[in-house]
Amino acid sequence: MRGRTPVIILLIVALLATGVTSQFAFNRRNAATHRPGQLASSDTGASSLAGMNSYALALLLGGLRGPLVMMLWSSSEAQKNEKNLEDFDTKVEWIRLLQPEFDTVHIFQIWNKAYNISVQMASLANKYATILDALDYARKIDRQKPNDINIVEAIGQIYFDKLGNSAEKDYYTQRVRTETQWRPAERTHPGDIGWRRTRLDPILDQKGNLLPELTKPRIARPEGLPADSEWNNGAEYQYLEPYQPFPYGVSAFAIAYNFFKQAQVLQSVGKQHHIQLSSMVVDSRPALALESWARDEWTRAGEAELKAFDKPLPSEPLDKQMATASLPLNATTTHLELIDAALYSYQLIPRLCHDSIAEFRRHLLSYSTNFWTYMSHIDELQAIADLTQGDHDYLAATRASGEVRRNLIQSAEHSYTAAAAGFRRIILKYYVDQPILDRILPHGVTKETVEKIPADQLQTLLNRVQQILAARPAGINPHTEDVAEYHYYIDRANLRLAQIKSVK
């Protein structure tokens, strides 16, 4: 027994030293690449013990790690199917700690929590809290394995697909915007026993700028990298920095874009490959996220505009376009803060559209098989940029005067004209069947070269298309709904142009 005691003590000391050494190395690595940012404080759980390194835990369990992991997987999945969520999160947490090196595990569990578990909640608040749990999980992995394309992409997907595009998106997107804004420090902390995340951590300061630690570069650019090459500099919100300030919070799509862009750069420059998604999908996501962000701002702008002029909020999204289309240039309102909000969004949308177009073009340089699909996005984004630029100038003109007002009205006229022409071209290019096009397009003009047609001839061509379609039996045109959307935009532009003409 005497001989064994020193050996046992030595083994325990060695085990502890392993954990300490591993944590030291981990901290050193993080000091070089660490992004404290959002959700940073949720790492440690109830105490420093909960920050136990996965490898120390694995060592402690020795050969039992495998059977324990198997048991945890089967138990947690059975519980999920039985809708018994008690200690489900604990089991998922243990799986994360015991299998830190398997990205497929993490991708599955992030998706599992964000989708399968959140849907079992009834209240939106609890659904949202469950999705935040999934984000917490992803961020913990990100801390252990920074710049892993699978995890970064997963974070972006949660913001884009779940928070931005699910059935409950209205609730989620509003909460994301609100909670990214600055607020006083909370009295409860992640270290408190029983603490549970119900809100995102703020990422903006009181002025709407991103917190400095979230934009601080941490990874030096390699010397051999071409000057025009993209590079992730290690700042958590590197790709949002150009768009700040965010006086009305950050859109979920904006955050999605930030992470999708990081993932895309990790793929194109870092040469990483996502284990499930194709490189084409990863590469296309920044553009799609920017487009969704632009549309999100567009929706917000329209609602702010409606509320500013005390208009009721129509249930159909497209009806919102027409509700303020006839707004006269001399309209006044006392809700100036709403006008500011609308103006902010309207000035951001064209920029987002142009950035999205640039991203699409970048993507198409490498993946030309998607050309025709994404060209329609590009064309639409251009038209939206024109329309919303016009909306911005028009709205700004309502409370401007003198030379400024005249310039704004002129700019709005130009933008609306371009927007109407843009949407007409889109209809002709993508929503008119070839046989009809063959009959109506001028000689030498094809679907691909519709840009050649002067703007003033476009409506005439569309009228002819309508006549041809009207002559056909009912129910033959499959594009009715899509085309109707574009007509809304054209009508809005035309009504605004009419208003402009009336004051000239």
Binding site: G45, A46, S47, L49, A50, M52, K83, N84, L85, E86, D87, D89, T90, V92, E93, W94, L97, Q120, M121, A122, S123, L124, A125, N126, D133, A167, E168, D170, Y171, Q174, E186, R187, T188, D192, I193, G194, W195, R196, T198
Partner: protein, 686 residues
Amino acid sequence: MPPIINDNIGWWIAGAIVVIGLVGFGLRDLLRFSPRRIWAISSVSFAESIRRRVLWITPLAIIGVIIVSQLQHPIDEQDAIRQTIKFCLFATGLLVTIVIIILACTNLPKEIDTRVIYTIVTKPTTRLEIILGKIIGFARVSAAILIIMGLFTWGYLHLRAWNMQRYIARQLIDGDVGPARKPSLEHYQQSGLLQARQLQDSDSYEIFAKLPQSTDSVRWMFNEQDFVVPFRLGLGDVAPADWQSGQPLPPLMILAHVYTQEAPLTDEQQEHLGGDLLRGLGTDTGGPRLSDSQSTMTAKRPAPKVAVQILDRNGYTLLAPNILNATSLTLHEDQPLQIQIPAEQVMTLVNHGRFFVSITGASPGWMYGADSNPVIILAPTPQPGKFNQIPPAPDPRDPSRHTPPIFQGRSGTHGQQLRGGPAEFNPVGIYRFHNVPLPASGQVPFEMRVGIERTGDELSTSTDDLTHLSISARNLKTGVISDPITITPESLRPTYFSLPASALGDGNFELILRNHTNGHWIGLQTNSVFVVTSHQPFIANLAKSLLILWLMTLLVIIIAILCSTFLSWPIAVVLTIVLLLGRWGVMQLGDTLGSGIGNQIATDFGFSDPSQAKVVSSSVEALTKALTAVSHVLPDISKFSATEDVERGVMVPTARLAESSAVAFGFGLPMIVLAYIFLKNKEVAP
């Protein structure tokens, strides 16, 4: 074999082993029985374990529990406590079982190998005293471990609960709590987190369109609900006097009287009724698709229709509506429904014994009603035009009358659905409680756990719409209904509420539930609502669970010592584990070991040759039958379930202690006698 023997064959076999073993083989040793010698031997076994520092493993287990507790991810404070209790008791059970198996399996073989046993058996000690002494010695060791771990569990949980309560208080003071969570936190603050309560669930749960009154002869349900009537058919009820096995049985007739009443229509329903289009019913996923179902209406209220099917005792379809040609039967006033059960299906019903006739409302815009005896089954007699009337099965509560129809809601993911919305358009759920012991005054606590489903339409909102459920109580004696309270349950989370004792009368009452939130469907089951009838200190409940664990270790010791009397210690350890887990393992395999497994194995292993396949198949079938038969003589360790009740804060019932004792001693005593016989016939000096 007489029932008293057949029903208790296990006890008889155990008794026979004990009596024959002790009286037949060991009468002399039995007459020399000395508790003092047994205690002396047990003291040495205990001292050996202590001096080998076995108890030093408890600090390691404690550290492990503390570490694992930090890795929790609870859904709320109560869940954190629950998980901590689980870890503590799991670690305790695992630790004590492993330690005891190793100690008990190695002790006798080691004493024989080292020949220490020479100086024991050459004293006037019987083999029986040696066996018993060792069992008691290791039982004392396991008790010591359980006491240490129990004290730690009690202290650690109180510490955690105290910390949680401070955190709850801070949250409530700050007001930083969502509306759905606040009632739960207030409940935890008031009742504490370490509870041991006794819960009583309801006797029945039904859903009606209108709240039934005692004077009502007819009770009502909405469209898509059903009522079921139980029947039990014997051959004597349906077979003609000259019937012989193998002959077809005559067809039967279901006679059902269903009342109808126009149901009030919502604005949306009226709008649909004015529409021109007929659209199909929503999908059958069980999710709430009210708006889709309502869209089946044509320009005017459709005729009232029902679907009839037969369900087995578990509620699964036995005879679908299409088999009975009863998918959509139009109801006519004062005209009962006649549904024929085809002759070829009658034997199915007889073989099942108990089944339910289910009548489901199939047309919107109507309420469907049933009196106390809406359905009978008619069996033909030899006389033309004459039938035997087979009534519903007797009411278990009052065998002198038939079981009245049971009204159910549509089945959803979480149980029967209680649709939400204004009261005049939506059903009411009723939980019936009988003979509940209640205090004379004050508030009576209840607990509820439900699942909630939402229609898609309700999600496109920027505000969170909580589910509002109102609950009132009706005193069954006086008929008085209390003022309703409103709670906001969350899906799959416990919700706590209380009602005044004065409203619940003498313990016979109904809870009336209404869901007020449009687009929300609350899934309820019979055991979704409990009344808390009494409380007990946590330490008492913990002590009971530790006692159950101790009884389990007693059984483990006995099995281990039995195995070690005739096996080397490594094989004794394995056999001990097999004997302990054998029955549980077979239970887990469950239906996998049913008939057909032989063919399945033969197919899976690709035995294409029929004769080979048959050999493999019949061997596997025989093996599984043997396995199942052997498992019946092994102890059922699931009876030592010590953690679930304590985790959930429910009092460990005395019956559980009795069950555990029965298994421990029922299996233990014969094994002690067998161990004695083996040791007595063993040459301890090879």
